[in-house]
């Protein structure tokens, strides 16, 4: 495919006349592309215009303040902390589980009906809307594991950070598996054969040859799924993220904190956007969105940088 690079003639070789129809078609295509990017520009431009006022007036105070009903004092400190802790759950639960599944499917699994069923199942899970994962979280983590006989909140503590985090972890699991499997598949077969030829066992080949070569791709996929998890709202609303006095008692143990109330950036944006007060649904919501976009874009940029660095090493 790469060998032939001769420029193709863009005009007809016959009589030279202006191809009006072709030009109109090309103009329509350019319009589509410009419309896509124009929308992005309007969106981000409007957000910066609205939200910058808050940073201009209060600086980092907005990031350090807790939630408040008074617009001049409201901030997103708890929301940032909540979002980062949710991301922690995704890292701890979804990444190991997802990568292990991908290794099994690509390196160990025989081509049987069971394997094909598991693979089909994962593809299906990737297409399930996020609200449905929210329902799963509501039914299993909030209701089933969150209530017990003694009324003290069961394992997860009901509508808690733990329930939300586990729901998000399950939500991104199929994405982690699919991207990891793709990068494992891209490792050349000859490397594995070399390893087996030297007498290595399957797990040794995976650990010393396959994983180091697949790592950049896996890392990129996982970081992208992390940014997806950070932006999810619906499952958190279903599993009960609320605006509350989250983390205001510093002497709580870690276990109590993750089993307690919490909030997250997308939920704060949603709640503020529905407020009647103009300050909340205007500047403050825009500023919170800027914070969310900054975090997710940082994630994506980190993914690209990591990938490039690994690519150079090879």
């Amino acid at each position: 495919m790469t060998a032939v690079t001769t420029p193709l003639p863009s005009t007809s070789l016959g009589r030279r006349h202006l191809d009006y129809w072709g030009l109109a078609f090309q103009a329509a295509l350019v319009f589509c592309l410009v419309a896509c990017f124009g929308l992005l520009l309007i969106l981000v431009g409007g957000l910066i215009g609205d939200g910058w006022v808050v940073f201009d007036e209060r600086g980092a105070d907005f990031l350090r303040s807790n939630l408040s009903t008074r617009p001049a004092q409201a901030g997103v400190a708890q929301a940032i902390k909540g979002s980062l802790m949710l991301a922690g759950f995704v890292v701890v639960i979804a990444f190991p589980l997802g990568v292990a599944t991908a290794v099994y499917l690509e390196e160990y699994a025989p081509d049987t009906r069971v394997t094909r069923f598991i693979a089909l199942n994962i593809r299906n899970l990737a297409g399930v809307p996020s609200v449905v994962y929210g329902l799963l979280g509501l039914a299993v983590f909030v209701e089933l594991l969150g209530t017990d006989m003694n009324e003290n909140g069961g394992i997860t503590g009901g509508r808690s950070l733990l329930a939300g985090g586990m729901t998000l972890a399950i939500l991104v699991l199929p994405i982690v598996i699919i991207t990891a499997a793709e990068s494992i598949r891209a490792v050349p077969q000859s490397l594995r054969e070399g390893g087996y030829g030297l007498g290595a066992t399957r797990s040794e080949v995976v650990r010393t040859l396959v994983m180091p070569n697949a790592a950049p791709g896996i890392l990129t996929g996982t970081v992208l799924s992390l940014s997806r998890a950070l932006g999810e709202t619906a499952p958190l609303i279903l599993t009960g993220a609320v605006l509350s006095t989250f983390f205001t008692t510093p002497n709580y143990s870690f276990g109590d904190q993750i089993r307690g109330d919490y909030t997250a950036l997308p939920v704060v944006i949603y709640t503020w956007a529905r407020q009647a007060k103009l300050e909340f649904k205007g500047e403050l919501a825009s500023a919170a969105i800027l914070v969310l976009l900054a975090i997710t874009l940082l994630c994506n940029a980190a993914a690209v940088l990591l990938r490039n660095r690994y690519d150079k090493d090879r």
Partner: protein, 314 residues
Amino acid sequence: MTAVPIPGGIDLSGNKRRRRREAWIRRVFFAAALSSVVISGAIVLSLIGEAFSFLSDVDLSTLWSSGWYPRRGSFDVKTLFVGSLIVTGIAMAIATPLGLGAAIYLSEYAKPGARKVLKPILEILAGIPSIVIAFFALRVIGPDFVQSINPEAPVTTLLAAGIGVGILVIPLVASITEDALRAVPRSLREASYGMGAKKATTSLRVVFPAAISGVVASIILAASRALGETMVVALAAGGSGGSQFTTDPFSEGQTITAAMIAVAQGTDQVAGGGGGQAELAYQSLFFLGLLLFLFTMGLNFIGDRFVRRVREAY
């Protein structure tokens, strides 16, 4: 992996302890792969269980009444169906032409340098969290666009939500279609140019039909995503709490997904148990979830088959 006895009596099966460790590692990986099956099972079980108790508890005549007001015992499913259809229809009417146009330009017309810059920007657009688009639909599309067409429309309308969802799925249509177009062998294009066809003719009559299953797949998968999109509709379509039956895109409305959020975030957060209206509202969540799950899974299944057809062709 079984030890094959070598003639001559040399045992090549290796260290016993090493083999036992291998078997354990394999089991751990298999367990990880099974977790995704467990998750699917949990989703289906929790949805079916509560949906079944909803259907057996609810007065079936309320499923076909004048509106969706779960807290008042009115569960009109057609309100939500029609709402979802309107929003998905508007979204696809926007995303299909813009997405296909952008994809054809990127694949057939853009110079490699321009493509290298434009494609990642499109991917950034795809990574914007839906809550951000939701806010944009509420604050910009509703007041500045919808109300300028029809001054009598409220700020939150089905149309505003549909446009928002359309913006959200454009990148999905564009990137899958672009992949499909680029998978069309170069020889087809060259043959077309050799016959004296113009660039526009080649793109539309040769490349596009050759990639048609990828194009159809992108539209189906985007429709499935639009159907499952929650936050944009929850924020920009109005109808928090409930909605009258409507077929007018310029009025407030409710979709399957937004209805779930509306039930979940009410002032009296619904929970299992307790009986009465609140219990029914809680169970209705899972009934809606089951419907949504079945619809999107059906769409994804069809879309997946089209994607595979592309892979088989070239």
